[in-house]
């Protein structure tokens, strides 16, 4: 089931929260000045926001969710579904969504569930929520989504300069008149090692050795509880799969690419995103980008890009947008959505 459409679901609002703490890549001293300049230019990340000690993805999501509920003037008692999409959850167990349900003051009748996805998570999360709304008589739902980067080693030049922290919230509600959301979701677990934290789960339960730092090449030192990126594999995957996935969802639903106002891609890095944009022959104006100020914010990159780059447009216009997430899993997917005058508060800082 790659393609499916879900009716009667409207995006009511989107918010995002980032840490106040700004980390500029010009100050990344682990590599030399020349390589640093090249890296900043090619990955497109001048600065990003990084959590301070003790702050988690769920803290950022909580603030984003709280603000969105307030601005929408939603009655919390009417929220019947909350999902937390993240690969940096608070605990191995329990599910962080349950903690957020209570912290946000949502009723016990609220279904709470975690979804363990990263870069593709926003599109998958929307499909999950929209299905509940369209088919399970749920009227209001909240997606909380985000990741934080203590998972990246400072001494790993392939990971540390890239990632930033953010947590976002998206409110969905039942609307008889809403245009259908059109999805195309895909997975390929044969590439699971392309982006991986090898230890810490049940497959490789953490031991003392998990904390040992090892060199994996010039400028790449990390331990097995930190994220490992196979840059070539991720790059090849992104160039191979993303554009066809986008074209397929458009063609399957007889949507002309010219009628889509904005394409919101997961913010992988500038090299990848520019290559995808060029393959699809899209002008930069139709492809908002938040890499420069926020970096790759993983699961939160699509909502963070919407709030930081096209806030004025989404709050005042009727838009057709395509969201496309791709990465860890490997997992990827696109959705075409139509929005009109959604609630979108300014980027929140914590």
């Amino acid at each position: 089931m790659a393609f499916f459409s879900i009716p009667h679901t409207r995006i009511a609002g989107i918010s995002t929260c980032v840490p106040k703490n700004i980390v500029a890549n010009k100050d990344y001293k682990w590599i030399g000045a020349k390589e640093r300049e090249l890296l900043i230019r090619k990955i497109g990340v001048a600065e990003k926001r990084i959590v301070t000690k003790g702050m988690t993805a769920s803290d950022l999501c909580f603030e984003a969710g709280k603000k969105l509920i307030e601005d929408l003037n939603w009655n919390k008692e009417e929220i019947e579904l909350v999902i937390f999409v993240s690969q940096s959850r608070d605990y191995l167990l329990p599910a962080t969504a349950c903690i957020l349900q209570d912290k946000l003051g949502l009723p016990k009748s609220c279904l709470a569930i975690d979804m363990n996805l990263g870069c593709s998570g926003y599109v998958y999360g929307l499909s999950f929520m929209a299905n509940y709304i369209a088919h399970c008589n749920i009227k209001k739902a909240l997606m909380l989504i985000g990741d934080v980067t203590p998972l990246a080693s400072y001494r790993d030049k392939t990971a540390y300069p890239l990632f930033g922290d953010a947590g976002a919230a998206t409110a969905l509600e039942y609307d008889e008149k809403a245009a259908p959301m059109h999805f195309n979701l895909m997975s390929d677990g044969s590439g699971y090692e392309a982006i991986i934290i090898p230890d810490g789960g049940m497959r490789n339960y953490p031991t003392k050795k998990s904390f040992d730092y090892k060199s994996y090449g010039k400028g790449i030192i990390r331990n097995k509880l930190q994220i490992a990126l196979d840059g070539y594999a991720v790059f090849n995957f992104s160039l191979r799969e993303v554009a066809p996935n986008v074209n397929a969802v458009l063609q399957h639903n007889n949507i002309s690419i010219d009628t889509v106002d904005y394409f919101l891609f997961h913010q992988a890095n500038l090299l990848i995103n520019e290559a995808i944009r060029k393959k699809l022959k899209l002008t930069p104006e139709r492809v908002p980008n938040s890499l420069n100020k926020f970096g790759n914010t993983s699961s939160a990159s699509i909502p963070t890009t919407i709030v930081s780059q096209i806030q004025q447009q989404v709050t005042s216009q009727k838009l057709k947008m395509l969201f496309c997430g791709f990465g860890v899993g490997l997992s990827w997917g696109s959705v075409v959505v139509e929005t009109e005058n959604i609630c979108c508060p300014d980027v929140i800082e914590l």
Partner: protein, 78 residues
């Protein structure tokens, strides 16, 4: 598709290169300050311009610009 065009496209992509310095026999690890970022830049350029996907092994078994061009040519014929 020819080697001259391939070289021009590389020179366009890598703004630090001195124009007309790059030759088919140039060893790309010597011409560039070769690193993974430059390799990924090359992959992106070749994908966009020739619809061919270079992979890490292609760089490992290549020394010169001509070697890379030959791989692109062979893959584009597939």
């Amino acid at each position: 598709m020819n080697i001259e065009d391939f070289i021009l496209k590389i020179e366009d992509e890598f703004e630090d290169l001195v124009p007309h310095k790059l030759k088919p026999e140039s060893k790309f690890r010597e011409i560039f300050d070769w690193n993974s970022v430059n390799a990924l830049t090359m992959i992106a350029m070749v994908d966009c311009e020739y619809d061919v996907m270079l992979v890490a092994e292609d760089f490992q078994k290549s020394k010169t610009i001509q070697d890379l061009y030959n791989i692109v040519l062979a893959k584009s014929a597939q």
